[in-house]
């Protein structure tokens, strides 16, 4: 009983599991999940076999877009997404870092033309040893993922 998750099951929606502890609140903020007005259940610092501690987010009546999944994969590459239908896991997939992230973040370069013109931001993603870098298609500058997301 002590190890049982104290987080309520949802009927339909998405469960983001295995989020590294501390990243959950950042994901809530980055994806603006609270503004959805859907029922959200969150767990922070929950016990985890793989991560020791993990965060978990359950969002009712909501599937994630490709752009949101890209953002998630950048900040919680170890996370898994569970699609829930009628209290049952209908689909389950692991995150993978995308080659391109479009329309998800603004370019941190304040002089980049993408800020003032009718185009979506567009970054190519490059994995480095201890970092993920995003290179803006327009200004060609590379930034650490943390700078891009300003988390």
């Amino acid at each position: 009983m002590a190890n049982k998750l104290q987080v309520e099951a949802i009927k339909t929606g998405t469960v983001i599991d295995h989020i590294p502890a501390g990243q959950g609140i950042k994901i809530l903020k980055q994806l603006q999940l609270v503004e959805l007005k859907e029922k959200i259940t969150v767990g922070f610092n929950l016990p985890s076999k793989d991560l020791e501690l993990k965060d978990l987010i359950k969002v009712e009546n909501r599937l994630f877009t490709e752009s949101e999944a890209s953002q998630l994969s950048l900040f919680a590459p170890s996370a898994t997404i569970n699609v829930i239908e009628n209290y049952v896991v209908k689909d389950k997939f692991a995150m993978s870092i995308p080659d391109v992230v479009e329309a998800a973040f603004d370019c941190p370069n304040s002089n980049c033309i993408s800020h003032s013109e009718p185009v979506n931001s567009h970054f190519t993603v490059k994995q480095k040893t201890n970092d993920v870098q995003l290179k803006c298609k327009y200004c060609e500058k590379s930034f650490s993922k943390d700078i891009v997301a300003d988390l």
């Binding site: 002089n111 003032s116 327009y138 060609e140």
Partner: protein
């Protein structure tokens, strides 16, 4: 078969293959030897300079006229509809590209040329976008190196000065890496080559070293590429101390190889002593002249299927 640059946008050096850069360099050499006034006959080129750039603009406009073309445009963004009426760059480019056969653009914001290429119906040539790319400068540098060394392969290039903010240095390094050149980077620590560029060199297995002074490499370098260290970035004492290491004079050139040539994107202030101008090593004024031929080559290639 159409040349590979026909109808292509020229935005950034990493977009160009080694073969394409060689084609531009060889076409520039050909046009320098034998001008062809028919290559841009009946062509109108839009010369859109949203910020001042005397040498780039004048060399483009000279190139257009020498190949028999005409140009429309402006030399200052302040009087355009963008500035006066708030029109987007995207809309401006859509309209201007419907008037002209190609569009040469300089803009103070990074990424402006890439954006323009997405909205233009004709080839866009980047004449400089903020601190990002200035590919035509790189192509004229490549042409100058080819002209004075007879090859682009396997040379030792020493870059001196402000390597942190110098976009010409960044693009030229990217281009020469395709030709197996090796590099020496000579700069104050605070103005060193950015890590993302040296990371790229590491990935490609290109040899480079960071050095303290020009004297350390002068006996082995084929090209010394000088750039200006801006005095305002340092206090006076610090600058005087640095000057000894990063200013080129006759003494610095003791022991130089016969084939050494000195390049500089200009304008020069005091980083190359005037006495160096009279040595056989000085090549920066030929380099500036070559801007016309490199830009002739680009315009001719993007607007002529066969050349």
């Amino acid at each position: 078969m159409a040349n590979p640059l026909y109808k292509k946008h020229i935005i950034s050096i990493p977009d160009l293959s080694r073969d394409e850069m060689e084609l531009i360099v060889k076409t520039a050499a050909k046009l320098k030897q034998a001008p062809d006034t028919r290559l841009l006959k009946n062509r109108v080129i839009a010369s859109c300079f949203f910020e001042a750039s005397t040498r780039t603009r004048l060399s483009f406009e000279t190139a257009i006229q020498r190949l028999g073309g005409t140009f429309i445009g402006f030399d200052n963004g302040g009087n355009t509809s963008l500035a006066k009426k708030g029109e987007s760059l995207a809309d401006s480019v859509k309209v201007i590209s419907s008037y002209a056969d190609a569009l040469v653009m300089r803009h103070p914001q990074e990424g402006a040329a890439r954006l323009a290429s997405e909205f233009s119906s004709v080839p866009v040539i980047n004449g400089g976008d903020g601190s990002n790319q200035h590919p035509t400068q790189t192509l004229l540098d490549l042409f100058s190196i080819y002209e004075c060394q007879g090859t682009l392969d396997g040379l030792h290039i020493a870059f001196v000065g402000d390597l942190k903010y110098g976009r010409t240095v960044h693009s030229l390094t990217q281009a020469l890496a395709e030709f197996g050149c090796r590099f020496s980077f000579i700069s104050p620590e605070a103005l060193g080559m950015p890590e993302y560029l040296t990371d790229d060199l590491d990935e490609k297995g290109i040899s480079y070293q960071r050095c303290d002074s020009i004297e350390g490499v002068v006996d082995d370098a084929d090209i010394i590429y000088m750039t200006r260290v801006q005095k305002e970035r340092f206090d006076e004492t610090e600058f005087k101390h640095m000057a000894a290491k990063y200013i080129l004079n006759l003494e610095t050139l003791n022991g130089a190889k016969d084939n050494l040539k000195i390049l500089h994107p200009l304008p020069r202030v005091d980083e190359i002593a005037v006495e160096v101008d009279r040595t056989p090593y000085a090549y920066y004024f030929e380099q500036a002249e070559n801007g016309v031929y490199a830009r002739e080559a680009l315009l001719a290639l993007v607007l002529n299927e066969d050349i």
